[in-house]
Symmetry: D2
């Protein structure tokens, strides 16, 4: 279901203006988006006491929330004007402890179709070790529906 007619809204590439980044969670978690195109989104999240379990490792929920922000930004960047949507499913595999002091993430689309897009986000520690991989499906539907 390739999107043959509808073009993405250019305004959706403005990171600061996207509704995604104006939500409470990106701010609370200190998530920063370092680049945004329709084929790649990158970002960083600091590791503070709020992000950590008692063993000093980053909480799994914080990692999934981090990835969700980047995947959502990618989906929004590909969304035509007059469309809305959201995450409909998300799958995470955890590989190693998140230790920081900053986590970095790269999100790329595995598929961009008319109704759905699928984003794969890789989260790494500062030393380059892979912490987790998140695969998500984002849906887009006409806003008037």
């Amino acid at each position: 279901m390739a999107n043959k007619k509808l073009k993405p809204d250019p305004a959706n590439l403005d990171v600061e203006q996207t509704t995604v980044m104006q939500g409470g969670m990106p701010k609370a978690l200190g998530i920063r988006v370092t680049s945004l195109t329709r084929r790649k989104v990158t970002g960083e999240m600091p590791v503070t006491p709020m992000h950590m379990n008692v063993n000093g490792r980053v909480n799994g929920g914080a990692i999934m929330a981090f990835a969700d922000v980047l995947g959502a930004l990618g989906a929004v960047a590909n969304r035509p004007k007059g469309y809305r949507g959201g995450t409909i499913e998300s799958k995470t595999n955890f590989f190693a402890a998140g230790i920081g002091p900053v986590l970095s993430a790269v999100s790329i689309p595995l598929h961009v179709g008319r109704t759905t897009s699928v984003w794969q986000t890789t989260i790494k520690n500062a030393d380059g070790s892979m912490v987790a991989m998140v695969t998500q499906t984002q849906i887009s539907v006409p806003a008037k529906d």
Copy 2:
């Protein structure tokens, strides 16, 4: 791979004492555990501006973090002394907008084995509508490994 010999550590049923609840994220998100047994964990999470996207709906990451706390508590409750572990994978399906004003969740084990347990957490709005379902695998290994 049923656990025939090892018994869960009774101390792991003390919600306040578990390492899970002493982490930063449960506190930051205001998660409260309302009951904890080895076969069922229930909890609540208030919906404040920190939890919300700009459309007033609960952020997907906050929902996944909420479920992760409950699933982890269930896994810990079944863990023998001298064992450690964590979430190795988590799958979420989102069904309806989280609106609160409080989200409630129930986590039950689909499987409790020697090495892994699988927890299914259902998150609902105050009106009973189902927001999301999360299925997670938790691993347990000897702490000395």
Copy 3:
């Protein structure tokens, strides 16, 4: 995204006539559908040498294929005339060895919306032990798109 206007096509409740059951895999695997409504699908799959690994246990792929048939039937049963679709994602957790001699499965919808439906299928051995749980998202779009 509740479907307020479109009604499911009654013809889609005719098991033998559905395109799902006319495919090669249900026949090859010997899958039989024992009941079909818009809120529940049940079926059986015999365990023959074709289904088994060398240890005598049912192959995971056969189990996932079995569940996919039932989830697809449920999605089709809720699909309006003039719509088409398919499985867009599927998640399986395996709990115990499939030993048969017949596996039974029950598939129920966790969500039925306008664009997507989510089906959860539980597969059991003849002795009632749970072999696997499969959660799938099925999409529906206008056939002319």
Copy 4:
């Protein structure tokens, strides 16, 4: 949990001898393994009427079964002597219709630890279009447990 002491059994790299390939499903589906190392497994599956839905597209269950064979081979290739295991969870995203005439797949490990390994398998049509991506967790435990 890196495996520091145990070495993979070299015999597990012998495709024809592995128990995986002696099972009924790889034969029934006509799956051929074209290369096998501990870091990459490749294979092919022909598209015959048995593999197809009535619309001529490859059945999702056949695709998941194909990927499961390759992921299992990769896990076995990394397994020490005296260990056994299997797939504990599998997640598939479907992107485009499988049309063949032959599907090819590449499976690589995202993680190889002492107790679990995670395999990502990409399935493509003969024209190179991506049909599906499968991410699986395989477990290994001592055979005497």
